[in-house]
Amino acid sequence: MKKDEVVTTEGPALGSDPFLQGDGTLPYLLRLREASLRVVAEARPQPHERLQTRDRDGELSSEPPDLGPPIPELPSFDDRDESAGALDRLAGWLLTRADDDRLAQLFARLDGRPYDEFGMSPRVARRALAFFKLLYKYWFRVESSGHAAIPEKEGAILAANHGGLLPFDASMVVADGILAARPPRLIRTVVDRWAGSIPFVNVFYARVGQVIGSRDNVREMLGARQLVLIFPEGMAGIRKRAADRYVLQSFHLGFVEESLRHRVPIIPVAIVGADDQAPILWDAQPLAKLFGLPFFPITPTFPLFGLLGLLPYPVRYEIAYGEPFRFHEEFPPETADDPHAVRYMAEQVRRRIQEMVDQRVIARRTKRT
């Protein structure tokens, strides 16, 4: 039984009903179907709306009421698959009913398709959320603020600082968008093209909804009013040394251009904690060239402890969403072709994120002392 579930049914005086007891371990498909039905029920017309279908004589009309277009089918998380695997059962155990409700809302637009146009699988995303929720709550103990800046339905670009060797910062922002934002929003991270060529990683990224960073992809996502998380520092953010942590590197400009072209705001996002999760002491470029990698980090634990040394330290994360920049309301789309203006706007965003990061880093240090 989960902590946040309140059982209101009356059980027998001695012992308990075994069927009720199994609530927490019910097959997730059943629970998801219930979650879907609840969302559908909310969208159904209320009784007073139904009364309007009576004709002038007060008799019920034989014609069905005009209720508008049918409600889209909510995802059933591949209920054609009769055998839910161990991972699905584990995910069902880790996620609450509220989490499944949020996922059902997010994936309603798929209309029953097993994959979206970017290769995301709701089923794999659900499994991943269960894992990342553990990291979110117990490993990184994420505290987030400023969710009011996240639009409820419209698209936007989230520009964040990057750090920490492995992109756990991105996964925590995505988890925060599902678990903490109201209503939940699926935040799609733009990942480096290089990631698309790495075995296993490319498949995982695609299935959990991350998208390879091409302008066409960003255009499609913004056109579909999705939230796109971009790290304008690029690879420079995660390869910076420990001495430079929380110092934002120079920004790539593409995110400002796309914001102007697609008329969406830029939400600055400050992530504090990621730069401490795996401090890089040295970037061994000769080794990077040897292995064909963009960089080869030397950290206190890697390569000393092998691949285990890449695991992030259990640092506290803070995620803050700032007031959106609405350059698109002040400048026409053609401004995207003016490199000076775009650079100026990117610098504005960079400064704002740096301020937000600095405030939180100073507050942390003050708290410690």
């Binding site: 097993p114 994959y115 970017f118 075995p199 296993f200 390879i212």
Partner: protein
């Protein structure tokens, strides 16, 4: 009222197209050509569809047909060219897929030389696009084509034929429309025009997404392109996309698993030293082709009417086409 020549009408897509054209009031006459004897499914359509057996890969066959009294009487004004690429041994185009290039070139040249022929619709494939790690999502029509000299021969043939038709897009009297169809799924659950699924090998660590489309929807798109008279290049696919592994399972074409680079490269050297054949792995085994069909929707009015569904797990996996609600 259009008078249409349809090539490879005996193919699965041709079969669907024949039915659609027969019921189309805007089409007066259809001349279907194919390499096989007249298929039995054309029997009910004889009032409107005439069949001519000829091998388009052979120049003299095409020449003699185009100069015949029969062709003159037909007064054809539009051509729907369907390159029929099936992987089933008995159904391949004579000469293999590369003959697609020669027959397409010849057909286009002949059509350009005949002013009476106004429209030409060519059914190409989305696998002409270059598969790259950077374009795994939603490839649009202006994406670069995959000019890989060491690539799959079938894919090179598709690209060459596509380019031949593209040459007529600008400054030609022929109004050329190129439809690039995703992997075509027939009612029987077979795949057509899909080089990535022609071979069963899979590379460990990669499972690219592929667009699919029902053969009925392809036929619809061809008819729409015929009537729309909007020259250009359009992607045609259904809304569903699937990982290659699921399609491969459902096609029962299972091949060896290949290790990713650099392990795979080292292993292939060992295999070569032992005299074993190297597994046939191309970039299509690593990177997917999922296409953006907005242009076809906006310009041609194409909206897929059939959903593709993959049911079951593992070896029991099968693929179905279901009419959308």
């Amino acid at each position: 009222m259009r008078r249409v020549l349809v090539t490879h009408i005996e193919s699965p897509v041709g079969r669907r197209l024949a039915k659609a054209l027969y019921h189309d009031p805007e089409v007066a006459l259809v001349v279907g050509v194919g390499t096989a004897p007249e298929p039995s499914f054309l029997a009910p359509y004889r009032g409107k569809i005439a069949y001519q057996r000829l091998d388009l890969a052979k120049a003299r066959h095409l020449q003699s047909f185009l100069h015949s009294e029969r062709f003159a009487r037909a007064r054809v004004d539009s051509v729907l060219h369907l390159p029929f690429v099936s992987d089933r041994p008995g159904e391949r185009v004579p000469g293999g897929v590369p003959s697609l290039v020669s027959e397409t070139r010849r057909l286009v040249e002949e059509c350009v030389a005949r002013p009476a022929i106004e429209r030409f619709v060519y059914l190409s494939s989305v696998f002409v696009y270059a598969p790259e790690p950077g374009n795994v999502n939603l490839v649009s029509e202006n994406q670069l084509l995959g000019f890989d000299g060491e690539g799959d021969a079938d894919v090179r043939a598709w690209i060459d034929a596509d380019l031949i038709c593209q040459n007529e897009l600008h400054g030609s009297s022929l109004r050329m429309t190129i439809l690039r169809a995703a992997t075509i799924v027939t009612e029987a659950g077979e795949f057509l025009n899909s080089p990535p699924l022609a071979h069963g090998e899979a590379q460990i660590g990669y499972d690219p997404m592929l667009s699919v489309v029902s053969d009925r929807d392809v036929a619809r798109a061809l008819v729409l392109a015929l009537h729309a008279d909007r020259p250009g290049v359009y992607n045609v696919a259904s809304r569903e996309i699937f990982p290659r592994s699921q399609l491969r399972d459902s096609s029962r074409r299972l091949g060896p698993l290949v290790l990713p680079e650099p392990l795979g490269g080292a292993l292939s050297l060992v295999e070569q030293a032992l005299g074993r054949r190297r597994a046939h792995v191309t970039s299509f085994h690593r990177y997917g082709v999922v296409v953006n069909t907005r242009l076809a929707h906006d310009v041609l009015g194409f909206e897929p009417q059939y959903r593709i569904e993959v049911r079951g797990q593992g070896p029991r996996r099968r693929i179905d086409t279901v009419r959308s609600r």
